[in-house]
């Protein structure tokens, strides 16, 4: 694999370029099809409300996938990610309007590890609330 960032060029605290990801109802329908997760809480407002949700919510795995892009875009080769984990702390509520939701993802190098790897800690916020917790990736750099 060929990460484009060198281990020697980063230090603890180095920030990765942050990104905002819009999440629309259409995106959730598309993700449902691509992932095979057709749970109606991700596309059926009536069903979502019947089970106590405020509205349709995004797939947790969709949010996890979007957050990963901050790391893979930075690293170049997505295979540089050797370990990636998150906790789903709050749902991303996606209203049926022209805006949908926005997930803001920031990340920084939290530790330099052995074997030219670093630990990157991520934050993902929607509507002022952390939607991912303990979001960490281990990335092997050049």
């Amino acid at each position: 694999m060929t990460a484009t960032i060198s281990y020697d060029d980063v230090e603890v605290g180095t920030e990765l370029p942050a990104r905002s990801f819009p999440v629309s109802r259409a995106a959730l329908v598309r993700y449902a099809g691509a992932s095979g997760d057709f749970n109606p809480i991700h596309w059926n407002e009536k069903f979502a409300k019947e089970v106590g949700l405020p509205d349709v919510i995004a797939h947790g795995m969709f949010t996890m996938a979007e957050a990963a892009r901050v790391v893979t875009d930075w690293a170049g080769d997505p295979a540089a990610v050797v370990d990636y984990g998150v906790r789903f702390t709050k749902p991303v509520v996606v209203p049926n309007d022209d805006k949908g939701a926005v997930v803001e993802v920031a990340a920084k190098v939290a530790a330099k590890l052995d074997d030219r790897t670093v630990r990157v800690d991520l934050t993902a916020v929607c509507d002022g609330q952390k939607v991912l917790g303990m979001a960490r990736a281990v990335v092997r750099l050049a």
């Binding site: 694999m1 795995m61 990610v81 050797v82 990636y84 906790r87 789903f88």
Partner: protein, 156 residues
């Protein structure tokens, strides 16, 4: 009712192989809006040293979760009530990226069963092997089954 602790350590038989296709990877990459050429352009993937296009890091969840669902969640002996289950944590450890042409088989193991604040917390490990038996990735999935009297959680 708490889940039976004797299921901890139980390993289920490997799943029939899932063949990873280029177009399925493309569909997934487009669905997450990711235009990294390593996912769609074999030449770009080769420039990174991969024999074919690779899949985004979370792609494999579709395969591991399907296995966990069919084998563990629907295991009548375990008796998990899926209508109460939400996805708590997810972690992947990669030996190498998933790539087009892989024939992937998942072996599910129940790593732990815990009871926290009236909820059952089930940790399932999915070891994903390729057609030659090499480990590709391990997925750790934590499922939380809300207890009847527990505070409503809204995660998925």
């Amino acid at each position: 009712m708490a889940l039976d602790q004797s299921f901890v350590g139980r390993t289920y038989p490997p799943t029939a192989p899932y063949e990873v296709g280029r177009e399925k990877i493309r569909e997934f990459a487009e669905a997450i809006g990711d235009d990294n050429p390593a996912y769609t352009d074999p030449e770009a993937a080769k420039a990174y040293g991969h024999p074919d296009v690779i899949a985004p890091p979370t792609f494999v969840f579709s395969i591991t979760f399907r296995a966990a669902h069919r084998l563990v969640v629907e295991d009548p002996e375990l008796g998990l009530d899926y209508s109460r289950v939400v996805h708590g944590d997810q972690k992947f450890t990669y030996a190498r990226p998933v790539r087009a042409g892989d024939r992937l088989s998942v072996t599910c193991t129940i790593d732990s069963i815990k009871s926290l604040a009236g909820n059952d917390v089930l940790s399932v490990r999915g070891d994903v092997h390729d057609g030659s038996g090499e480990l590709v990735v391990t997925a750790h999935t934590k499922l939380v089954a809300r207890g009847a009297g527990a505070e409503q959680s809204t995660e998925a």
